[in-house]
């Protein structure tokens, strides 16, 4: 009896894994790279040149300042769905307990901002005063917001403290979480 049960178990595992193991969890709906360039209209940030690579980067250094930003109108068909915003790029700081953030805020035309999520940059630095690759994500679940977001804004932010918060090659990917 035990052998028969074991055999059933093993045989059934194969189709079960095949049936449930293969699907894309996220469907990418938008991807862009934000980088300062000639003609870039900065907010509170300063556009600087990396002396080694010659690349431009955005720098925030005072408390309460906002930097490089993406505004994105959500297409109608993706509104009300769970969205994942992935941010990746290269960053640098001189503060071990960095206060820098990348904010993802969701808003509607009527109510304004309905949700705000953050990527804590402190968790991204593995060395001081050196460029570090980073990648992180936030999940936006409209059911928690009370209204369906129509617009996303992604921006760098230094809420408090003085430090050098540098960002370059910031890539933002917006994906829709697939139901099942």
């Amino acid at each position: 009896m035990f052998n028969r049960m074991l055999r059933s178990f093993l045989i059934s595992l194969i189709p079960a894994l095949a049936l449930t193991g293969c699907h894309d969890r996220y469907l990418s709906i938008y991807e862009t790279m934000l980088f300062p360039k000639i003609g870039y209209r900065s907010q509170d940030d300063t556009v600087m040149t990396d002396s080694l690579s010659g690349q431009l980067f955005s720098r925030l250094q005072r408390a309460g300042t906002y930097g490089i930003k993406l505004d994105y109108d959500l297409p109608q068909q993706h509104r009300g769905k769970p969205l994942v915003v992935v941010v990746q790029g290269v960053t640098r700081t001189n503060n071990a307990y960095s206060n820098a953030l990348i904010m993802v805020s969701a808003s509607t035309a009527k109510k304004g901002q309905v949700a705000s999520e953050r990527v804590t940059m402190r968790y991204q630095y593995t060395a001081m005063n050196q460029w570090c690759l980073f990648r992180d994500s936030v999940l936006l679940r409209p059911e928690y917001f009370g209204s369906i977001p129509e617009h996303l804004t992604i921006y760098t932010h230094l809420p408090q403290g003085n430090e050098l918060f540098d960002v370059k090659d910031l890539t933002v990917t917006i994906s829709e979480e697939q139901a099942w």
Partner: protein, 527 residues
Amino acid sequence: MVKGWNSVANTESNFIGRWRPVIRHPLSPFVATVVFIIALVAYYNYIGIWTHLPERPCSIHVSAQTQRASIAQNYYRIDMNFFKPRINNFTGEKGITGSEFPIIYYLAAISYKLFGFNDMYLKLINLLVFSLGVFYLFRLSQLFVRNAVVSCLLVAAVITSPVLLYYSANVSPDTAAFGLVLSAWYFFFRFIHTHQKRQLYLFLIFATLAALIKVVSAMSFGVVLVLVVLDRFGLFKEGDKRYLLPRHLALVLGIVVGSLLTVAWYYYCRVLSAFYGNPPSLMQTMMVSDIETLKDVWQYARNWVFDYYSYETYVLLLCAIVVVFMFLRRANRLLLAITVTYLLGSLCYVYLFLFQFMHHDYYIIAVLPVVVFLLLTLFDLVTRLALRYSQLIVAALVLVMFFNLKESVVKTRKIYVGRFEGKNYFAADYRPYYDLRPRLRERGILWEDKFAVAFDNTLCSSLYFMDQAGFTIGDEASPETVKKILDRPNIKYLVLSDSARFNRLYPNHFENNILMYHRGLIIYKLR
């Protein structure tokens, strides 16, 4: 001697009931098993268990999780001596501490030896033991309702609980103990039916393991003893057969042996903890004796109510109680006796551990056998009524269950997924520690080197993630405690998550000894 699934289902037995005609399964046992396992795997997939299985211990009760996981880690790293479980916190000597029977942690350590360290194996073993119990629950319900679809619905109703599913693929042993209890009950009923010693032994092995892993699971022993007493009084007498339960003496003796083993293990744990000076990871009774504390407990515990089960399941349970009361005379006496005895036992348990329910959602898992047997009593009753009156009654049950489950599964998934999302991390965030270990090894730091970590309010969460032994310094630590820890000659490194606060607590000149930075942590070399 009766053997095999078909023969069990197709033979009249006392506990199945006297009105029941012989019915064949619409599905063969093999197909039913295959369908059930596929359904279970797909169900786990829908809930999100496979997605979160590879994640490191996180979210609610990360402290309890890492404390258990560190036992497996230390078996793997230090010593495979089963009788000397260790945690990463070396407050006492060598980290050795008393723990629940560490069989699951030991199996995980063997997996680490075979495949390399990955805490997913521990979670997977827990999930497998739990799933084994769920499978036996399916088979147990098959014995009564003899319909694979209805059995699947019963199983789904029992396991569609955010707390249960969250801890199923997790480190805490509560769901594994629950799975073993379910397996034990299946073999108990097989024993009643077949009178085979083998089934008795399997019942005793599973029930003893469950009690060893989580002492409150020993309630199943108590329930069986009550059944033996009731049987002696002739409560289950049917026809010319005097007793329903076979081998009363062997059953009682087996339970006594199982209980003695359990008591011996927990006594050993206490001795071990006292001897080595580390806190044991065991359940502790915490009663509530005044009304103010009771209000506090209620204030907190009510937040968990819909994490235990969804609103729809509570309605189902209420309906089950009402229907069983309405048809009390037709209900299966044995199942009813088990439900009532379990209920009384669970009330005693809740009384003894009430304070723990304030912050510990997983304490409810020990009570879930009541839900299992209540629903089993209901489903058995409905099947009996359907056989007597009309099969439409079963069809109605299936329909009601379908819509009930449809709602509760969606809600359960939402709560389950929510528990893993960043903003719902109920404890401190340990993500900076997740990938610190390879960087420490790069710097030539060995796992034998001892660390002090400030600030970490748990016993060993940060140490576990770093894969280092040492000490944690909590928010409330005094300068004397910090000095005592840092003065230990074997402490070589200090990890600070907030150096400014640490400097205020314990003025120092460590800034000259910075070894590295890592995701908001500063690591100092002390000596």
